[in-house]
């Protein structure tokens, strides 16, 4: 059986979507969901003209298979359906005949492309038959009598057929009615400060009424002066361009109208073939029949490429002048109108002289077409060109990365193409304070010749769980690794309150006593014996639970852990939202099991208000139709009862009043928290809170070497915490 199209996708539904689309147009196809099936079919079936390969999310696995397939089917056209993010990999795949489309699957586009290939293949057959016929005719020896009329008939037939094919395979311009270009999504802080933009093509759509009249006139003057007088094709201009080019002996003037340029941008490949030109003309006529001049101009201005990765007039205005398109002057509009012809050639940042010459040419055209008068012309022509591109300095980069991962998981590639307005939970003022506090903490260490130290800080709202500030490292441009969310570190003594909470849940009271003396424990399953020591080797004998926690006594804590049970401690940690593995050994009690600052900070919300909260970085998402499409509510779950909450809070308050967190008393307000230091001084922590905000700070080195001998949570992390808490109040 001969099938012209093979469809391969590991996802049967996706393969069927494509196959059924083709079937509806009378094109038969075979579906394959594994390499094995496809290989098998190639051995027994006639080879296909088109192979549609869906490699979404599997590009790395499918790359070799694709290349092998293309060697086996050198004549076939490969239609590759993939993720936008796969584009770089795809560019490295060497396939001669490939068409690439990005997700989501666009059935009509696939159908049009496949049809075009199949029709083209049939056309070659006609040519072949014509040649055979001609040869046979020559053998009859009557060429002079019959060849000429047959040749004319054949020519007219083929030309007519060719024109018909060009028109029949035109793309459907109805899609323009729902014109929805790739548009930039923007991420803001809660208080409306732009944090970053997510885009493939940096574009912000602007409607007709927000484009200044003089900007439209500038484009019309230089690109298509008779724009309002033709119906898509400007015959007078074509003749004039033809004549000018002949006189000059080179192509100096083009004949394309704005409508033709739009047709080319939206639907056609930038190849120079007669077929494309015919299609361009036919499409332009079709567009003019279906859309008003105003609609066509708006589409053109929003779609054109202006260089500097700016698509559309709004993005271009922002990049070249740092302002919105609605605010650009005549001189600025003239420069933008100068660019689409050759964006890099006429870029003021590449070749100032050439850019100026072209801009002034636009102004002359505006003068000639009466868009401006002599006075304005004289004044405008003296205006300077912009010196450098306006690039935004984006803030809170670690937080942006965290949001990006969350948003990509929700929206995939649409994040980069759908023009979403995303309000994050970040408080811009708090973020600035956080960045300053971390920087000051690192600088203070640098002054003591302690370099290459990293720090992380997270601040969150205790009512909602919203992240208010996040600093993932000392310098984002040096290292993008996020020490709040990605680093798995030993928590040391910040883990201890979990043991005390487990005890309180079992009925212990803060005033119950414990023995703080040298005790032996099994280190791990291997049976190694271990006698943990207190800080500076001092043991306190009989102590209350409150004292043991406030002074962070290792031996007393381990004795307590033995009483409450390791399993129960691990359960408490899980109930508090810790997802990293807590190893069932006594060393975990002193914070040997690694986890992230994010996890630890969210676990501490239980100490603050009894509730386990879920990390939340997005407050609201609005689509380009201005409908709110997502407004997540904070998730909370009560984990402990009021009595236990009151007791654990009093114990964490004692840490600040009498224990290792004494320095925090400088804040002169009621705060709670716990220090943490690991054995080899590799990690220093402080996590604490007041009634509204919980803040976690970690300091350490990426290579897990000691920060310096004697570096503790109290001496290194707590000062950063204090500065932040002081400045936000």
């Amino acid at each position: 059986m001969s099938l012209p199209v093979f469809v391969y996708s590991p996802d049967e539904i996706r393969a069927r979507i494509i196959s059924e689309t083709l079937k509806a147009e009378g094109i038969a196809s075979a579906i394959f969901t594994s390499h094995f099936e496809l290989d098998d079919a190639l051995m027994v079936r006639r080879l296909p003209h088109v192979v549609i390969v869906d490699v979404k999310k599997n590009i790395h696995e499918e790359q070799k298979f694709l290349e092998r397939l293309s060697l086996r089917l050198p004549e076939a056209v490969f239609f590759i359906q993939c993720d936008l993010s796969d584009r770089p990999v795809l560019e490295n795949i060497t396939i001669a005949n490939k068409i690439v489309a990005f997700d989501p699957i666009a059935p009509e586009y696939i159908r049009d492309k496949v049809e075009a290939v199949l029709i083209a293949r049939r056309r070659f057959s006609i040519k072949k038959y014509a040649r055979i016929g001609k040869e046979a005719f020559r053998q009859t020896g009557r060429i002079f009598f019959k060849a000429i009329p047959i040749a004319i008939t054949l020519f007219i037939g083929l030309a007519g057929g060719y024109l018909y094919w060009c028109v029949a395979t035109l793309p459907d311009i109805e899609t323009l009615k729902d014109y929805s270009p790739y548009e930039t999504s923007k991420l803001y802080t809660q208080d409306n400060k732009l944090l970053t933009e997510f885009y493939v093509e940096r574009r912000t759509f602007v409607p007709y009424d927000r484009i200044p009249k003089h900007a439209m006139e500038a484009f019309i003057a230089v690109e298509d002066a008779r724009y309002y007088r033709h119906h898509g094709i400007d015959v007078i201009r074509i003749i004039s361009a033809f004549w000018t080019n002949i006189r000059r002996g080179a192509i100096v003037q083009g004949g394309s109208t704005i409508t033709q340029q739009l047709a080319k941008m939206l639907f056609l490949k930038p190849e120079k073939t007669i077929t494309r030109k015919i299609k361009e003309v036919a499409l332009s006529l079709k567009i003019e029949r279906n859309f008003t001049k105003r609609e066509i101009l708006v589409l053109y201005l929003n779609h054109a490429y202006f260089g500097e990765r700016a698509y559309g007039i709004e993005a271009a205005s922002q990049v070249y002048f740092g302002k919105s398109a609605s605010d650009i002057s005549i001189a600025e509009a003239a420069l933008l109108a100068a660019l689409p012809k050759a964006p890099s050639k006429y870029s003021p940042f590449e070749d100032k002289e050439r850019a100026l010459e072209r801009r002034n040419y636009v102004l002359r055209r505006m003068l000639k077409t009466d868009s401006i008068n002599d006075l304005i012309y004289d004044e405008t022509i003296r205006k300077k060109l912009p010196e450098k591109a306006h690039r935004r300095n984006f803030n809170a980069p670690y937080f942006v990365d965290y949001c990006r991962a969350d948003l990509e998981a929700r929206y995939g590639d649409r994040l980069y193409t759908s023009g979403l307005t995303i309000y994050s939970t970040l408080d811009y003022r708090m973020q600035q304070i956080a960045e300053r506090a971390v920087q000051n903490g690192i600088d203070k260490l640098k002054k003591g010749k302690i370099t290459d130290v990293q720090a992380g800080l997270i601040a969150l709202d205790l009512k909602s769980g919203q992240i208010k500030a996040m600093v993932g490292g000392a310098n984002y441009s040096d290292s993008q690794f996020n020490r709040v969310t990605q680093a798995q570190r030993q928590p040391g003594s910040v883990f201890k309150p979990i043991i005390y909470l487990t005890a309180l849940k079992q009925g212990f009271s803060p005033n119950d006593t414990l023995e703080d003396s040298k005790t032996f424990f099994m280190w791990n399953k291997g049976g190694e014996v271990w006698a943990p020591e207190n800080y500076k080797g001092i043991y306190h004998g009989t102590v209350t639970l409150t004292k043991a926690l406030s002074l962070s006594l290792n031996s007393a804590t381990l004795n307590l852990a033995r009483k409450v049970g390791l399993k129960n401690i691990i359960k408490t940690a899980k109930d508090m939202g810790i997802t990293s593995t807590i190893h069932p050994f006594y060393s975990s009690v002193l914070g040997a099991s690694e986890l992230s600052l994010l996890e630890m900070a969210y676990a501490y919300t239980v100490f603050a208000n009894g509730n386990r909260l879920k990390p939340m970085c997005i407050e609201r998402i609005i689509d380009r139709e201005e409908s709110t499409i997502m407004e997540p509510r904070g998730e909370k779950k009560q984990v402990i009862n009021k009595k236990v909450l009151k007791n654990i809070r009093s114990m964490l308050r004692a840490v600040v009043l009498k224990g290792t967190g004494k320095r925090a008393q400088v804040l002169m307000r009621k705060v709670y928290g716990k220090t943490g230091t690991t054995n080899d001084y590799a990690d220093a922590w402080f996590i604490g809170f007041d009634e509204n905000t919980l803040v976690g700070v970690w300091v350490g080195r990426d290579g897990r070497l000691p920060i310096f001998e004697g570096a503790t949570g109290a001496s290194v992390a707590l000062p950063i915490w204090i500065e932040f808490m002081r400045d936000i109040s």
């Binding site: 996802d11 996706r14 979507i17 059924e20 689309t21 997700d103 699957i105 729902d178 929700r410």
Partner: protein
Amino acid sequence: MMDMELEKANGNGTAIEGQIGLDIGTANVVVAYNENKNIKNLLQLNAFFTIPYSKVTKKTLLREETMFFDKDEKHYILGTAAERFASTFDSSTRRPVESGLLNPREVESIDVIKAIINRLVKKSDKRNKKICFSVPGDPIDNPNAIVYHESIIRMYLRDLGYSPISINEGLAVVLSELSATNFTGIGISMGGGMCNVCFSYLSVPVVKYSIQKGGDYIDSMVGRSVGESPTKIKMIKETGLDLSAEPSGRIEYGFHIYYDDLFSSLVQSLRQVLGSSDNVPRLSTPVPIVLSGGTVIPRGSREKFKKALDGVSLPFKISDIIIAENPLYATAKGALVMAITEDADI
């Protein structure tokens, strides 16, 4: 023992000719089949009621050709008759299917459902005759929940001599109602226990799922709010509820509130599931939504659903919202279309 009594209760026991579509819902079991090029339907309430065994009662049941079987010193009265008995005893019927799936709280649910199916479709007269039965989509928050349910029904239909295939309920609605759009659109079957949704593109079930809320939820919530039994609320709903009219009285207000709540949950789930699917293609033409099932029978449901959908952003535009021509029978009809198509493919 059980089979013999059913045989008597089922009359002559003649099998249906040709392919069969079977909709096993929480509230009803419906059969669709072709008779002289017209689609015919049979419907039985998917319910049962037990009464203590006695020889006298049994004689009466047999005399009145009531559908029942005996087990563990009890008579299991099935289908529509169960409701009559329940009302006589001032009680409620029990359901072999709950929230669209075999009821795990009813030990006898498998026997009951088998008996009802047997009553409706009978043993196959030909080997491997095609029967297509509806199955719900995976509940949004409970994936793989339908495997057991589907396997049990499939096994039983095979025992009856059929070659069974299954169809998603939402897809069945599309196959039944959307031939005009080449089977492209969203089919929603809103039954007693759940709402089944399928976005179909050229008959390919691109996205299918269910939410475990349906007519029963409305009945129970309204009942709870106004202090009436769900059975009474259901009766009021089925006898002339008009959602297009302004509500008057506590019960009508209750209906409006819980219909709004159900539709809101449904459209939010649509937004969420369609929005997060990798498979939804880019469509240039709007697609219709078709609603079916007993829950959308009250007047004004379409407008209420439309209101809930307003302002909700889906990956494609919606051309129209339509109510199935016969909401109670649409799923069975779609299943029949599938059975016929599958036979033709062979």
